[in-house]
Amino acid sequence: MADTWQLLKPAADKTLPAVPPDGDVIVPLAQWLAQRAALTERRGRLGVWLGSQDEPGVIADDLACFEVIAVNFPQFIDGQGYSIARLLRERHHWQGELRAIGDVFRETMFYLSRCGFNAFALRPGEDAHAALAALDDFSEAYQVSVERPQPLFRRRLTQGATRV
């Protein structure tokens, strides 16, 4: 899966990375907040990524500036990104690409997609086909999710739940 996006990361001392003059970049949230004017003026498409502790509300008014929003999973057992994704989709109505980055692999694909991720930057060494197949590990779900905004109990009433 060809991907033109370059993910920019802060240095260990939190120094913001240099931004190349052109090309598609995904910048950390702090960079967006500090350099928004410069970032919007450059050539190339722009994305932003949120860390697991970032507050998605701070970009609520900026969504039109981005082609992609990414959420980082430092470890897959850190589930904060699931809430961030739902907030971006359900509260802030982000319609564009929502990309899971970091410790992303087949075992979390099902939950990620239900919370609104539609792009998955798999960690190194993962088999993309197996990961995509894992989206179908479960054919139904009880809860409200981004994928199925109506919970099973409401869908049962209206249409009879069906395999999806």
């Binding site: 589930g79 904060q80 809430s83 239900r114 479960f138 779900a141 809860q143």
Partner: protein, 570 residues
């Protein structure tokens, strides 16, 4: 019994397939230990020093006889012929082989069971009152609400990887028999002035290192909002709960650090967005769930049952058992019965495959083919005709399930002591009672886990205090009654004798010492799986001794120094 529909079944089947694949990849080296660990834990599978341990969910403690027979089958085929009923209404197998666990899960799925989310940092098995639906003081049937929460929590996409485990208890009655105050979330049914059903919601209760009573964050939540309100609570926890220190990761710490008021505000802010959203429950759904539960077809019986009354009058042992193990029922002429798994000398909560089959037969014969697992690690036949009680009791006695020792004191093995016995140096029953009072909260006890507490009033050791994980021995000091505490004893295949902790203490001090022992244990244990006795064996008694006596131990004024009498004699 809740009967799965096609979708419920399909999800459980798909979980088996998923876990089989994960296990195979782990065994082949394609999935690393670090990646596999959280995945297997979410299927109830621990890997301990000697063997894996598989925890199977018994949602809200309800079991059909055919399910219990399947559990017996599993115990025979894949374990060592027994299982252990846990304090969270689950059953655990201690000797399964990792590569066979997918087969066990597949077997479970054939009887509408699973091990989903019985461990790991996710929403765990929903627990409730073991008298749910039959208690005379029911406001709602908590089984229905527990099943609603089971479905809501099963594979919840947002809350699969929380900061820490998350336990929810539901009470449907006036009296809380589900220990909702010491759960991450406690849900208590109530009615408002107009008679509408709703729930009081408590958050942040818990035991372990930081025992704390949950705070009420919603005095009355109309039932329609239960799921999205819990979504709001969980979202606040998922986003702001600490992940840097596992001992500070439970929601109770977040509630405490934010203060309950700030926590409540955050939940309310979140809920403002979710309120009346699609997760809002509807009467059709509650009714649908209710109708998927089979209910006993009770006979219209007289409240007075002459043969029961006659048996009570003529048979004292029976009357004693009835007094302790038989509980009131909302239907006239019926009763609920506790089958004790706490027979002295049997590890609390253990049942052999043969016993499980026998109980399944009893359930079929006396209680509409259903039973419950209580969080006191006993089994309950919830719908027994009073006219059958005497016969049932005889059967239970043959099987060893009729020990009339249900209630808090059941965990304490205790000789008659100085109140009744002329040999005794000291009373033991009042000590048991004092400890019972101190550890009055049932969930506190079960968070502490397996702990044999034995009390003997003298060196004759009728209370087998040497082989208690904690043993208490009454001693006579110049006419005064003192108690020598020992720890590290055990019975069974790994029997050992307890070691005396230090100078004996007065009766009043015993509960304090117990509390200190427990506190240190909770601090030092590796995980909730490591029992008190394991910690004592691993770290020795010195840390306990230090913790109890410290540098500032003050002996009771005016008593002088007393030396521990007759160490481990008798």
């Amino acid at each position: 019994m809740y009967i799965y529909d096609e979708i419920d079944q399909r999800l459980v089947d798909e979980r088996v397939t998923q876990f089989r694949s994960q296990t195979q990849r782990f065994l082949s080296g394609a999935l690393s230990e670090d990646d596999f660990r959280p995945l297997r834990l979410q299927n109830g599978l621990y890997i301990q020093r000697y063997a894996p341990m598989l925890r199977v969910a018994i949602p809200y403690g309800l079991l059909a006889s055919r399910q219990l027979r399947a559990l017996a089958y599993i115990a025979r085929k894949w374990d060592r012929g027994y299982g252990h009923f846990s304090t969270r209404q689950n059953i655990q197998y201690n000797w399964p082989r990792l590569e066979e666990v997918p087969d066990i899960l597949a077997k479970l799925a054939t009887v509408q069971m699973h091990a989903i989310q019985t461990s790991g940092n996710c929403i765990r098995n929903i627990t409730t009152d073991h008298f749910a639906g039959v208690a005379p003081d029911d406001i709602v049937n908590p089984l229905v609400w527990s099943e609603l929460l089971r479905q809501w929590s099963t594979f919840h996409p947002e809350f699969a990887f929380l900061p820490r485990k998350f336990k929810i208890a539901v009470s449907g009655s006036e009296q809380d028999r589900a220990a909702t105050q010491v759960h991450d979330i406690g849900v208590q049914a109530k009615r408002d002035a107009a008679g509408n059903v709703g729930f009081r919601v408590l958050v942040g209760g818990g035991l372990g290192r930081t025992p704390i009573i949950g705070v009420v964050i919603r005095e009355f939540l109309p039932w329609q909002h239960l799921l999205n309100y819990l979504d709001a609570v969980l979202r606040v926890y998922n986003r702001y709960g600490r992940r840097d220190n596992k001992y500070k990761a439970r929601i109770k710490i977040l509630v405490k650090e934010l203060t309950p008021d700030v926590f409540r505000q955050k939940v309310e802010q979140e809920w403002a967005h979710l309120e009346n959203g699609p997760a809002t429950l509807i009467a059709d759904e509650v009714q649908r769930i209710e109708q998927r539960f089979t209910r006993p077809s009770y006979l219209k019986l007289d409240a007075h049952v002459p043969e029961h009354a006659a048996a009570l009058a003529r048979d004292q042992a029976y009357a004693k058992w009835v007094q302790r193990n038989v509980h009131p029922h909302k239907m006239p002429g019926y009763a609920a019965v506790t089958l004790s798994l706490k027979k002295t000398g049997v590890p609390p909560g253990d049942a052999t495959a043969d016993q499980m089959d026998a109980v399944a037969d009893m359930a079929d014969r006396y209680s509409f083919g259903e039973l419950r697992v209580s969080h006191e690690q006993n089994l309950i036949l919830a719908d027994v005709r009073q006219a059958d009680l005497h016969q049932l009791w005889q059967k239970a006695r043959e099987l060893g399930f009729a020990t009339p020792n249900i209630g808090m004191i059941t965990n304490i093995i205790c000789c008659p002591g100085g109140d009744f016995c002329s040999l005794a140096n000291a009373k033991s029953i009042p000590v048991a009672e004092a400890i019972q009072r101190r550890f009055d909260d049932l969930d506190y006890q079960y968070d502490i886990g397996e702990l044999d507490l034995n009390i003997s009033g003298c060196m004759n050791a009728c209370g087998h205090h040497h082989v208690g994980h904690v043993g208490i021995l009454g001693v006579d000091k110049q006419g005064a009654e003192f108690y020598q505490i020992s720890i590290g004893g055990s019975q069974g295949n790994h029997a050992s004798l307890g070691k005396v902790l230090g100078p004996s203490v007065s009766q009043d001090e015993v509960p304090d010492v117990m509390e200190k022992l427990i506190k240190l244990y909770l601090t030092r244990r590796d995980s909730e799986v490591e029992r008190f006795i394991d910690v004592v064996r691993r770290i020795g008694i010195e840390p306990f001794k230090e913790h109890v006596y410290g540098g500032h131990h003050k002996r009771p004024a005016g008593r002088g120094r007393h030396v521990a009498v007759a160490e481990a004699g008798g």
